[in-house]
């Protein structure tokens, strides 16, 4: 077959471009190989799920009746001063138990993104600033916060007492009518039931977990079924990206606090103290693990609270979130400023070094990722 000369001139570049695209596509789908070090690092993100036991600081943790009661409380508008909302208004199951908004909105807008509620038994600290060292204390915070449910202990107790569906289980679980307990004790008991329920919200096994276990078992067929882009993303995650230094272990978080160069001024003239403020609140709280409401007489889980260190470096630090189910929990960061996972990865690619504390994390440097590498990391994150 021959083509007229003008057409031939056009055809060669087209054929060359076609060859290039085919080669690029083949490279994109080429099998990914891992070094022994990379393999070990990827395996360190499992196995999943992690076994957990009841929370010793909460005597109703793991109790079936308390879990059911906690769910009813979680969904009840009776915990809000104006009956206008419940915990489930902001922690929507279909949205990863977040709200899908950049900043949470209770009775008014708050300063931070609503955190998802998954795998909470694995936490050491709760909230973006770690102001709580246990889940029942963290559950008290939105009940009392005037911007959220706006309740007081004194108003909460009669509200429970006058609602038969909430009063009766309280009596069964805590051994007395709610009116027989002082208002503060009743509120803490309510929070412990809420915690018992939230502890049951766990993320299941993911595509990454199947890949990770296949890697451990050298199951080539199962490894190959994990998309190549996600495999390349995994290599970056534990390699040049060093994401796993903070997003460590099976829950993809070290549970601690870091400054990643985001603004911490919710509005002009007002600063979000981050971890610094969180430690101050923690230390003066009656509901921390060193306080009188811890059901564990030996204070066996209070070591972190006893030893936590307050430094100037804590300004602007926020908790490293778990990446489990991360595709379901947009938008991202403590201020909800990143709408998509691609935005998050681009932040680390172009991180503004001048924004980081001088005495802060020296680990963070711009990763200078290509568009393809960003897409690979996002593909990996989507499988968690």
């Amino acid at each position: 077959m021959s083509f007229p000369r003008p057409l031939r001139r056009l055809l060669w570049p087209l054929l060359a471009a076609g060859f290039f695209l085919t080669s690029a596509a083949a490279a994109a789908d080429a099998p990914v190989s891992f070094t022994d070090d990379e393999k070990a690092l990827i395996l360190s993100h499992g196995p999943w799920p992690v076994k957990t036991g009841p929370d010793p600081s909460n005597r109703v943790s793991g109790d079936a009746a308390a879990i059911a009661y906690g769910k009813a409380l979680f969904e009840s508008p009776d915990l809000a001063i104006d009956r206008g909302r419940s915990c489930a208004t902001c922690h929507v199951p279909e949205l990863g138990h977040g709200d899908g908004k950049p900043l949470g909105v209770g009775r008014v807008r708050v300063d931070r993104n609503t955190m998802p509620l998954f795998n909470l038994r694995l936490n050491t600290w709760y909230g973006w600033d770690g102001k709580s060292d246990n889940l029942w204390a963290q559950s008290i915070a939105p009940i009392l916060d005037p911007r959220e449910l706006g309740m007081t202990p004194e108003e909460l107790r009669p509200r429970i007492a006058e609602t038969p569906a909430l009063a009766s289980p309280y009596r069964d679980i805590f051994g007395a009518d709610v009116t027989d307990h002082d208002a503060e004790t009743a509120m803490v008991n309510i929070a412990k039931a809420l915690a018992a329920y939230q502890e049951t919200l766990t993320s299941g096994r993911s595509a990454f977990d199947r890949f990770r276990d296949a890697l451990a078992a050298d199951d080539a067929a199962e490894i190959a079924s994990y998309q190549a882009a996600a495999q390349r993303g995994a290599k970056l995650f534990v390699g040049r990206g060093r994401c796993d230094l903070c997003h460590f272990g099976a829950n993809f978080t070290n549970g601690e606090f870091h400054d990643i160069g985001l603004p911490h001024f919710p509005e002009q003239g007002r600063v979000d103290k981050g971890r610094y403020g969180g430690i101050l609140v923690l230390r003066r709280s009656r509901y921390n693990l060193l306080g009188p409401f811890n059901d564990d007489a030996g204070r066996t889980t209070a070591g972190f609270t006893r030893h936590v260190r307050l430094t100037q470096r804590n300004w602007g630090e926020f908790r490293v979130p778990s990446l489990r189910n991360v595709a379901r929990t947009a938008p991202y960061m403590h201020d909800g400023s990143k709408a998509t996972l691609e935005d998050v990865v681009r932040h680390y690619s172009d991180i503004p070094e001048e924004r980081l504390h001088q005495d802060g994390e020296k680990l963070l440097r711009p990763l200078n990722l290509t568009d393809g590498e960003i897409a690979d990391l996002v593909a990996f994150l989507r499988t968690l």
């Binding site: 690092l41 360190s44 050491t124 796993d244 230094l245 903070c246 460590f248 272990g249 070290n254 549970g255 601690e256 606090f257 070591g303 972190f304 006893r306 030893h307 936590v308 260190r309 430094t311 470096r313 005495d359 802060g360 994390e361 020296k362 680990l363």
Partner: protein, 127 residues
């Protein structure tokens, strides 16, 4: 390594080791897995559990004051260990947490009066 906060360095000053060499029993040194020495000062320690895991609390039994940090990352621990005296020149420090994998450095400051001797041990954790 970043200079340690004075409080962290000083909290052992009062009690543990005004004269470490004098008080430090040799059998105690021999019983511990890790020993450091420099300029005539000896420190021995062991951790519980023996294998340190990222993000998990551990104790360190030692004869001097202890702190730790990640020199390459420019930060110390997020926790201040507390000292429990087990005997003359012999203490246990609870509340140590290495919150990231990587190269950590444990710092032992041994005081005799105002004079400080610093011994360091590099430890690689979890990565």
């Amino acid at each position: 390594m970043r200079k340690l906060p004075l409080a962290a360095a000083a909290f052992v000053l009062a009690g543990t080791a005004p004269a470490l060499a004098e008080h430090c029993p040799k059998d105690m040194l021999a019983a511990m897995e890790n020993r450091l020495s420099a300029d005539g000062t000896a420190v021995a320690y062991k951790t519980d559990p023996a294998k340190i895991a990222v993000g998990k609390p551990f104790s360190i039994e030692v004869v001097a004051c202890v702190d730790a940090g990640m020199p390459m990352h420019g930060h110390g621990m997020n926790y201040t260990p507390s000292e429990k005296k087990l005997g003359p020149g012999h203490s246990k420090f609870d509340g140590m947490v290495f919150h990231m994998p990587g190269a950590w450095q444990i710092t032992f400051d041994v005081y005799e009066g105002d004079k400080r001797r610093r011994l360091t041990e590099k430890v690689k954790i979890g990565r």
